[in-house]
Amino acid sequence: MAHISFSRLVLDTANTLLISKDEVSADDIYKKLKIRSKNDRKRIVWILSDLTLAGRLTRLRQGNYGPGVQPKPDKHERMWRVLRMRHRIQVDDLIEMAGVSKDYAKQWLRLLVRRGIAVKQQEPGMKGTWCLIAEPAECPVDTDSAARLRKLRLQKKNRERSKEVKVA
């Protein structure tokens, strides 16, 4: 099963609710997702704010959201589209066509090789080329990185909390 991020879950919930009515409130989303704790509610508010900034939702008034403008593909999807269009790509192609950084492109291509979606071909002294060998229906998502980032954020949060306790 494909990994669904929490922000995608919030967006999907908002969009589902928006089918039957013109606007959706943050309370509707809490109820639908059965969110009760204050921290989780706060998290949803941040996600809604991010989704509004990304154009996925429109903020009608405080706490009320409408459908967003048609979203443009994110970096992963842009890279995935470029690979599917060209079948053989270099890191430079992703930098130029998908507008991503070199490190990000390399990291994503390594993920594809690990998952058996692409193979790397490289002659000594030459630039590497990645070939698409399997075509899954959905854009591959780097769940490992997401988990690693979550862990780092949690560590940072814990460090900050311990500092606050010491000061107190």
Binding site: Q70, P71, K72, P73, E77, R78, R81, V82, M85, R86, D92, D93, I95, E96, M97, A98, G99, A137
Partner: protein, 243 residues
Amino acid sequence: MSKVRFTPTFVQTKNVRSFETLMQGLMLARDSGLGDERLGCIWGRAGRGKTRTVQTWAARNGCPYIETVSVWTELDFLQKLCRELGIGHAPGRRGKCFELIAETMARLNRPIFIDEVERFGQKYLEIARDLVKVTSGVIVLIGEEELPVLMQQNRRVWSRTYRTLEFEPVSASDIMVYVDQCTGLKLNAEATGIMHAASGGDLRIVRRDTINLAHAVSSLHRTGEVDAELARVACKFGMKGRA
């Protein structure tokens, strides 16, 4: 002086700007519901940057893009179109595929790009025409010199064509902008002329010469504007483009 590096950049050449104008016009016509012209035609010789421009635009705007394969049948083409439109399981019959594509296109507010379509003659042009007629969606066809001729031969296709756009040879000013944006180097007039003549209007050759130029500037420790001598060094090793 620090080492000069070639940074791959999508440069807004004159052709790219014309392409964006064409796309804006097509989408505006679709959104306003004015007229029936929903087909676009992009043509030009190989190496002018048609495919790269269209692929970049399609990737950044989330549009379906199809590059035809010579062994395809009509069913293969329709099934590929189904997959690109996100239809999970493409049916095994042409009629059903067409129905599903039309259904999805009617909802999709994005153009579809079909590359190298001229190699199948009128066959795929008729499919494209039927799709835009039924759905009012936008389809942009990309090909070489034969494509506009083929479209003009078929009056029903031609009357639904919004505009044709020829990808022209890369101009001298495009080369100056390209070198500046990819390497940060400034070309003088003579150097630009040399690179322009060597490229023969081919963007691939400009790209290759720009990479050579960045290497030459770094290895010869040059500073300031790129002069004719350096431009000759950069163009020397490559195959000379033909006009």
